[in-house]
């Protein structure tokens, strides 16, 4: 038996364009003292990143598949990473061979490092109601005369769409370079896309640009709403303030929901004009009858998918507001002191109300993948025994 453990040290979340590194350790778990111990052989192992796409049959109409065979002969040395997976493989990186002919003596352990740039042009990991994009690192290994065994390490990919392309190959901008200088710079260059992406994220999401909205319905002014920015990173809190004191119509209650809309692009819709699927990700509900001003803060969960669009699906984010307002405008009664009789004011038992809703589109962008790793459902580590 050989135990294969694949582990992504940095965590299971990556930004597209980032270099993913995975340490794959092959261990012969037998103690070298045990009598039955013998050395183990593996013919080869190779690793490859691929993205599986899966669409719900009753929402997405996909063109009939090509003649791509999803069959893999058991004894063949052909690695099809998506073998046995649902859906289709929309993206894969070239396989990299880790080794050929590995021999492990009892108790011996060898570690290989697989590194690959997560493709920039792929979709983000997404688990929607109609469409799923799932990224996996698949490590295939084969013993001589045995079927290929696949070890899958699912991971999450965040895509920062609209990232400006780097100004062409980085090497060229540092024209004639001495090949002896390269060594140190390679590592530096690897970190660059991530840094650039994070810089850009910070710049776009830390800019404050307050937007004011006068919330009115058919009967009059309800509130004034202010939101300080409309572009957010994952994990940030959306903060908005309400001012009801200037409204004419009393508002009994408001709620703000963070929602994502998943829309199938026209040409793939199963039924023309089919509804957009809306998913809620958090809600703030507040009674605001005698409230002059208030605010809400809605956290954007770290595990949701930032807005994106592919040729099949588009994901957009919005804030969905609902207001329960009185039907009659209510002028605050004036209480006069020094009346002859005791006055007792009590609130109304019933209020005739209407409900109104309103949507405000916002943008949700990825965040530092290291941060997202902490709450990832994946562990970034997986193992298999061969």
């Amino acid at each position: 038996m050989i135990e294969v453990v694949a582990s992504m040290a940095r965590g299971p979340v990556f930004l597209a364009g980032e270099l993913m590194e995975c340490l794959i350790t092959f261990t012969n778990p037998m103690s070298h003292l045990s009598t039955s111990a013998s050395s183990e052989m593996l013919a080869w192992a190779s690793a490859q990143i691929h993205c599986q796409f899966h669409a719900s049959e009753n929402r997405v109409a996909l063109p009939t598949r090509g003649n791509k065979q999803d069959v893999q002969a058991e004894s063949d040395t052909v690695l099809i990473p998506s073998r046995g997976e649902r859906g289709q493989c929309v993206l894969d990186t070239p396989p990299k061979i880790l080794f050929c002919d590995l021999r492990l003596d009892p108790g011996e352990r060898k570690t290989y490092s697989y590194s690959e740039v997560v493709p920039v042009d792929g979709p983000p990991s997404f688990r929607g109601q109609a469409v799923k994009y799932v990224y996996k690192l698949t490590i295939g290994c084969q013993r001589v005369n045995s079927p290929i065994k696949l070890l899958r390490v699912p991971f999450r990919v965040l895509v920062l769409q609209g990232m400006p392309e780097p100004p062409f190959p980085q090497d060229e901008e540092v024209s004639p370079s001495n090949p002896f200088l390269e060594e140190e710079e390679v590592s530096r260059r690897d970190a660059r896309p991530l840094e650039r992406a994070l810089d850009m994220l910070m710049v776009t999401t830390s800019r404050r640009s307050p937007h004011m909205f006068n919330i009115t319905n058919t009967r009059g002014k309800v509130a004034k709403f202010c939101i300080f920015k409309t572009v957010y990173r994952l994990g940030e809190e959306i903060i908005g303030t309400f001012n009801f004191s200037e409204g004419d119509i009393p508002c009994l209650q408001y709620s703000v929901s963070l929602q994502s809309e998943e829309e199938i692009q026209d040409q793939y819709q199963r039924r023309p004009g089919q509804a957009v699927s809306v998913t809620g990700h958090g809600r703030h509900l507040e009674s605001c009858l005698h409230t002059a001003s208030s605010h809400f803060s809605l956290p954007i969960p770290l595990n949701v998918t930032p807005g994106f669009s592919t040729d099949v699906v588009a994901l957009r984010w919005r804030l969905h507001f609902e207001f329960v307002t009185a039907r009659e405008p209510m002028e605050a009664p004036t209480v006069l002191q020094n009346q002859a009789e005791v006055t007792i004011w009590a609130g109304a038992e019933h209020v005739d109300v209407d409900t109104f809703s309103w949507n405000l589109p916002i943008k949700v962008l990825p965040t530092n993948p290291a941060l997202a790793s902490y709450v990832s459902q994946f562990t970034g580590t997986n193992r298999i025994d061969i």
Partner: protein, 1439 residues
């Protein structure tokens, strides 16, 4: 702990009125708030925060009673008492609380598509309808100063010095008592003789009073500002049964608030400080516990200008106090005085443009339910506006305004109400509707730190891609992300649960930090981070029939709750499994006999503290029952504590721990370390420990069956510490970090933290009898601790941060402009240096060492060490008085125990002022010695840091000498950055300081922290080349002016010359040792002009003495595999392991070993290698015609060589020119193209299996691409410099016939020295010999260049002196036989691997026709094809 969050919410009274409320009084459960204005009392509901009812007095009654002043609720919320200015108590009945009438119930239009926003809205989002009805007023005939509800009584203080006791239901005066203050005896303590009534109390009255249940007495502030405490001596309050004590020396008291849980009395003073008193239980005197004061350090402009303390409010859970002053502002303090928030500074007090804001003045405030809100009545604002209005227009003298109330929001640590063990390594905060937890799981970090050593443990496992440094960096990165980022994971509490059970009372998180549980008014709910789902009771009745009373905790997969069951009317202990549905059917229920107040879990034990002051221990056991699991609970032990606990409400927390006073026992049996050894009880801030009594006859565990093992009784309690807010212990054990894991950590408010550290005898010796087993060490930290990461030696906490949002919305003055937005940020702190220092102070160096060694693996350990030196240094070096027993030498000695000593000292020095250096180095040793130690330890970077010190403390000659030393070492080790710095450093010394006296400190920048910033800033006037050095670009110098050019420069600056000399020497050294790769890096990194130098050294050190050795060395250096021949064709050398296909195993072999190997293997005599002219292009030539000017220039140095090159260039047509990177890459791509060719050819030619294998092996054994590029680059450099021998060696390793051919063709040139030709010839012969015997893989290539070799033999034989023939003749002698073998050997064998030793085939035998004869053979034919394609010179070269 409490943290302010967001903005305050502003409520607006729906009624317009000319009055403004000035007093707010919460009902006992804080669900209702009574607001009092002059003639009006209003009742607000807490959630939703709406006005329920408002009672406005008639003019007649108002005139009779006077204005309203204060209000007080009856404990059952059924009545309100209002005190009026003219000495009346007005009692109001609050009606309607019970019946099902609600206010503001929304009525949705019929047919509305959305009827309700939330299910259950009607019941939960509406306020109950109440009404107020006045009962008969009670006239007390004097102005009322204080009002206090006391169960069935109402205590009223009046300005005539009386204390009235009224019965809530007492109609009329029959239930009324009045006690005159002057009859109460006061003294400084209760013991001193029963002093008679104090005579100085005439005319003095109680102006503020509060009753403390747990102290059973009244804290009073008298009208003359004195503070006192009055206790009834019997159960009822009777005039002559009262006794008072004074607080000594205070006469400016203004207000008081008591803390029932901690038995504290907080008195506000006119000076602005709050004095917190406790009662000494033995003497009964008032003792000052601590003060709450703003420090001048943090609030320089306001600390003494706050005015008198106006209101003090303890939070409902008694863990914090909110204080406000006359001038306004809010400040929040923990129970023992840790300062948390103050709104008088920073963003609260200043706008973003720096202007000051008017502080918020507060007339009254009150905490809301569970402390999530603070209701604040702002004062003056309305009045100020009134004044403005009245000034503008006189017509409405009293404009009607809607009064505002501010609601500040707080989040608090789960520990404040539910201090259970499982919360202790995670920071869990809860707000009104959400949970905040620390992102990132410390245990995850542990696991990686545990996991990573395996990669270190097998450094020789031979995995090619092994990166040992990597896990370390990822670990530290992981930890720094964990600690560095300030994100919280925010979980919103399920709205359905929240709406029906608001407010949340308890929250708990499991040990892994993955599952949380919350409990509100009724029932509870839990959440899993993994599924991201809440689990609620499926059956609402079940939820509503229980209420959590004693807290909740996680035990493995179970939620443990102590609750009250309303249907059975009994107290129960329940365990619910997380994975099953939340339903009583899956719960294990144990009946309890008394109300539970606290609950905790330790390993498999539950500990309960009950209202009858007893502690119960239960064991939990998991059971598999059918489908699911369940837990069974069994009572183990019951310990009555009523003797020690005066009031059950005083117990803050109860914990089982494995802590014992004697560590000796745990030392003997470490597996027992985690048994429940003691109970820790926090009794009103006093930490009490009850240990298991082991003094009795010990029962051997073996003898008693484990099941009915009788648990040991507990010994009497011992007080460990005072003023304790929180306690942390762990039940985990780790032998390596016993100090940290077996310690007890305490947070003590303003006193910081304390650790009760175990002391272990070293090496398991018998403990010294005089050495105590534990030691309590206090240390200060700057954060409020919320969790202790035991293994990581870290404390996690949180602080309030503020963000200003003003200036965004113009002039409308919304709240955003008045207040900053508050957020809570996580913080963390290391504390190890404090503890180590304390141990050293106490002469416990051995313990300190053990502790430090256990933590030496932490990523911030160097930082800890540095901090320790720094703190001690700053303290002792800046001390005014001489220190009798300085600690610094001890600290220095301590750190020498660690390998990072040198580094620590220099880093610390560099972060300290220059003025302190003398003191520092007097203690730690001479910097020169330390520098030398660094060099010995090969720690060059640290040595470089010391150089700065030396430079400042020593004469230039010394620092120069040391710098030179370091420079040479850095060169040797290839620390290029350091080399560049050293060059600059040396030049800087040379540029100005050669003959000047040592620099005075004042001219230096002593506090510069950056290593070489100092030198960078200094003008390096003379060294233009220094700039080019740092550019780090490929700068192939075509001009060979450097050697000559540098001499005039050197005349100006001896330093430059000196540096050049060193560089040349190093280059020579590298070349002598055949370290081409190092030479390449050296030249590239330091901008060393290799070509020029090589030109000069061409006939000296740039010669190759031993081709074979050089070749092997290159293979090794460039990770270039030796060529391999197919296994089938020749097996013996492979099988006996002498010929290794992969070189990596030899990487670490020293050169001497290598040569030893050579002599071993080179058994065969040297043989000549025949060569062919296949390729006529030359790499070196190409560059020549691109840059004739430069080569012409270069002629000055070595004219003959370049003439020769020029002559050869002319007939070659080359597309690309060497000398730019592009052509280097083209070269490499050309080589890549070779591969393709091989592939194509082999496929078309349908080779045999063996041949295919051969090709594939050839391919597989090509070195890394980068090495190839580097080799090509070096080849070019050598070509250019005319070092032909080296060209041959590189040509060989690259197996590039072109190169060999080209070089050999150069040899024809008469300018080439004869010895070069000779040397090449000899070298090639040696290589051939070696290849035949030891590296058969080379044979095919050597065969390939046979024509060239042959040509060389021919040409040299003519030119070279007769002696030079010696090897040749020798070889020809031998070749006779071999040649025969070669001739007879089958063709295929020849070409494939040179299986037969036919390398020495004589020119006559194999005259260049090898290819013609074997057109089917791979290499030659393919290469000739390439030749044919690329240039039309194929024919002529062949001929």
């Amino acid at each position: 702990m409490y943290f302010l969050t967001g903005w305050p919410r502003r409520l607006l009274c729906p009624l317009k009125s000319e009055e403004e409320p000035f007093h707010i009084q919460p009902s006992s459960q804080r669900f209702y708030f009574a607001l009092v204005s002059e003639t009006q009392i209003s009742i607000w509901f807490s959630r939703p925060s709406v006005l329920i009812v408002s009672y406005i007095e008639s003019v007649k009654a108002a005139a009779q009673f006077g204005f309203y002043q204060k209000a007080e609720w009856k404990p059952d919320d059924s009545m309100i008492a209002v005190a009026t200015a003219k000495g009346y108590i007005l009692l109001f009945d609050v009606l309607g609380g019970g019946d099902e009438k609600y206010l503001y119930e929304p009525v949705y239009p019929k047919g509305s598509p959305r009827v309700k926003v939330t299910p259950g809205y009607k019941e939960e989002q509406c306020a109950p309808a109440l009404s107020l009805e006045m009962k008969k007023p009670v006239d007390l005939e004097a102005p009322i100063t204080s009002l206090q509800s006391l169960q069935e009584n109402l205590l009223v203080c009046t300005a005539d010095g009386y204390l009235h006791v009224l019965h809530w239901d007492g109609q009329g005066s029959n239930g009324r008592k009045a006690i005159c203050l002057t009859t109460i005896p006061f003294s400084l303590d209760l013991q001193s003789a029963r002093a008679g009534p104090a005579l100085d109390l005439e005319g003095v009255y109680i102006c503020c009073m509060e009753y403390c249940v747990t102290l059973d007495g009244f804290a009073v502030v008298l009208s003359d500002g004195r503070l006192g405490f009055i206790t009834p001596l019997s159960n009822t309050i009777i005039a002559d049964q009262l006794q008072g004590v004074w607080a000594a020396d205070v006469s400016d008291g203004t207000c008081v608030a008591v803390n029932n849980k901690y038995r504290l009395m907080a008195f506000g003073c006119a000076s602005g400080s709050v004095l917190v008193y406790m009662i000494d239980t033995t003497t009964g005197s008032m003792q000052l516990s601590h003060k709450l004061e703003l420090t001048p350090k943090h609030y320089p402009d306001i600390y003494n200008k706050t005015g008198a303390v106006k209101v003090i409010c303890w939070s409902p859970d008694c863990s914090v106090a909110m204080v406000t002053w006359e001038c306004g502002g809010l400040s929040l303090w923990s129970v023992f005085g840790a300062h948390l928030i103050c709104t008088l500074g920073e963003d609260f007090a200043h706008r973003s443009d720096g202007t000051k804001k008017e502080p918020l003045r507060i007339s009254s405030m009150s905490w809301g339910a569970e402390g999530y809100h603070l209701w604040v009545l702002p004062s003056n604002q309305g009045r100020r506006r009134k004044e403005e209005h009245s000034m503008e227009e006189d017509s409405p003298p009293h404009p009607f305004l809607r009064a505002g109330i501010l609601q500040f929001h707080f989040i608090k640590s789960a520990l404040t109400v539910n201090p259970c063990t499982s919360n202790q390594e995670h920071v869990l905060l809860h707000g009104e509707d959400r949970l905040y937890l620390t992102c990132g799981d410390p245990t995850q970090i542990h696991s990686t730190s545990d996991a990573h050593p395996h990669t270190h443990l097998h450094p020789h496992d031979g995995s090619p891609l092994h990166q040992p440094a990597h896990p370390d960096s990822s670990l530290s990165q992981g930890l720094s992300t964990l600690l560095g980022h300030k994100h919280w994971h925010v979980v919103q509490i399920h709205s359905t649960y929240l709406e029906s059970n608001w407010p949340i009372r308890f929250a708990a998180i499991d040990t892994a930090g993955q599952c949380m549980a919350v409990a509100g008014r009724r029932g509870f709910a839990h959440y899993s981070l993994f599924t991201r789902k809440w689990k609620l009771f499926g059956n609402i009745t079940q939820e509503q029939n229980m209420t959590v009373t004693g807290g909740l905790a996680w035990w493995n997969d179970f939620v443990v709750v102590a609750c009250y069951n309303f249907t059975d009317q009994q107290e129960q202990l329940r365990l619910y499994q997380r994975s099953s549905n939340l339903d009583n059917a899956f719960a294990s229920v144990t009946k309890l006999h008394a109300d539970t107040l606290l609950l905790n879990v330790f390993r498999d034990m539950i500990i309960l503290f009950r209202a009858d002051c007893s502690i119960c221990l239960y064991s939990i056991e998991k059971r598999n029952e059918g489908l699911g699991q369940s837990a069974s609970v069994e009572l183990l032990q019951e310990v009555s504590m009523s003797r020690y606990i005066p009031h059950p409400a005083l117990v803050v927390s109860v914990t089982l721990t494995s802590v014992r006073t004697e560590t000796g026992i745990t030392l003997k049996a470490p597996q027992q370390a985690c048994t429940a050894e003691s109970i820790m009880l926090n009794l009103a801030g006093q930490l009490i420990m009850l240990q298991r009594d082991r003094s009795g006859p010990q029962v051997r565990e073996k003898e008693t069956p484990a099941i009915n093992k009788k648990l040991l009784p507990f010994s009497p309690p011992v007080v460990l510490a005072q003023c304790v807010e929180n306690v942390w212990t762990t039940c985990r054990s780790n032998k390596k970090k016993r100090h940290l894991l077996e310690a007890l950590w305490l947070s003590c408010g303003e006193a910081g933290m304390k650790v009760w550290l175990p002391l272990f005898p070293r090496d398991h010796r018998k403990p010294h009898s005089f050495l105590s087993r534990r030691i309590m060490l206090p240390f200060h930290i700057n954060i409020y601790p919320l969790a202790v990461l035991f293994e990581d030696a870290l404390v996690l906490g949180a602080t309030n941060e503020t963000v200003l949002y003003d200036g965004l919305q113009g002039s409308s003055e919304p709240l955003e402009a008045l207040f900053p937005y508050c957020t809570v940020e996580r913080t963390s702190q290391i504390y190890l240096h404090h503890i180590l220092r304390q141990l050293l102070v106490r002469n416990l160096g051995e313990q300190a060492l053990m502790l430090a060694q256990s933590c030496a693996g932490l990523p911030y350990f160097p930082h800890v060490m540095e901090l320790m030196v720094h703190v001690v240094l700053e303290e002792e070096a800046t001390s005014r008085e001489p220190i009798p027993d300085p600690l610094l030498p001890t600290v220095a000695k301590f750190i020498t125990e660690f390998p990072l000593f040198l580094q620590t000292i220099v880093h610390c020095a560099r972060k300290t002022e220059y003025a302190l250096w003398n003191y520092l180095f007097a203690a730690v040793g001479n910097p020169k010695d330390l520098f030398e130690e660094c060099l010995m330890a090969q720690d060059l970077d640290t040595a470089a840091s010391y150089l700065i010190i030396l430079q400042n403390m020593e004469v230039p000659a010394v620092s120069r000498q040391h710098a030179t030393l370091l420079f040479n070492t850095a060169l040797e080790q290839g620390k290029w950055d350091l080399c560049r710095h050293m060059i600059r450093f040396l030049k800087a010394i040379g540029s100005g300081e050669m003959d000047t006296p040592p620099p005075t400190p004042s001219t230096q920048e002593p506090s510069s922290t950056g290593a070489f910033e100092f030198f960078r800033n200094r003008s390096i006037s003379l060294s233009q080349s220094a700039d080019s050095i740092s550019t780090g670009k490929f700068n192939l110098q075509k001009t060979f002016s450097m050697p000559t050019g540098s001499s005039p420069k050197g005349a100006d600056c001896p330093e430059n010359m000196y540096i050049d000399m060193m560089l040349w020497r190093h280059a020579r050294h590298l070349l002598e040792q055949v370290r081409l790769r190092d030479l390449g890096c050296f030249s590239a990194q330091l901008g060393f002009e290799l070509i020029g130098w090589l030109c000069r050294e061409r006939n000296r050190v740039a010669r190759v003495e031993d081709f074979v050795l050089a070749l092997k060395k290159l293979h090794e250096d460039f990770l270039w595999p030796f060529p391999v021949i197919p296994v089938g064709s020749l097996s013996s050398p492979l099988k006996n392991g002498r010929c290794r296909p992969v070189l990596s195993t030899q990487l670490l072999k020293s050169q001497s070993a290598d040569s030893l190997l050579n002599s071993d293997m080179d058994t065969a005599p040297p043989l000549a290698v025949p060569m062919n002219h296949t390729w006529t292009d030359s790499l070196g030539q190409r560059s020549k015609d691109t840059d004739t000017a430069s080569s012409a220039h270069s002629n000055q140095n070595s004219p003959q060589t370049y003439d020769a090159f020029l002559s050869l260039v002319t007939n070659k047509v080359e597309e690309y020119s060497i000398g730019s990177a592009t052509d280097l890459t083209e070269t490499s791509s050309m080589v890549d193209g070779d591969w393709m060719m091989v592939d194509e050819n082999s496929s078309t030619l349908s080779l045999s299996q063996a041949e295919l294998e051969h090709i594939s092996m050839e391919l597989a054994n090509k070195g890394p691409h980068k090495s190839q590029v580097q080799l090509r680059y070096l080849l070019h450099v050598f070509m250019e410099a005319g070092c032909l021998e080296w060209c041959v060696v590189i040509g060989l390793i690259l197996r590039d016939t072109n190169v060999i051919k080209q070089v050999i063709s150069f040899l024809d040139n008469p300018e080439v020295p004869a010895e070069t030709v000779q040397s090449i010839r000899k070298g090639l012969l040696a290589v051939d010999t070696w290849a035949s015997s030891d590296s058969l893989g080379y044979k095919p290539f050597l065969n390939l260049i046979q024509p060239q070799l042959q040509h060389l033999m021919e040409s040299t034989s003519e030119q070279v002196q007769p002696e030079a023939f010696q090897p040749a003749t020798q070889s020809s002698k031998l070749s006779g036989s071999d040649g025969l073998g070669g001739a007879t050997a089958p063709r295929a064998e020849d070409s494939r691997g040179g299986a037969a030793p036919l390398g020495l085939t004589l020119p006559a035998l194999e005259p260049a026709g090898g290819y013609n004869r074997t057109p089917s053979e791979d290499c030659p034919s393919e290469q000739s094809e390439v030749q044919g394609e690329e240039e039309g010179t194929y024919d002529c070269t062949l001929s």
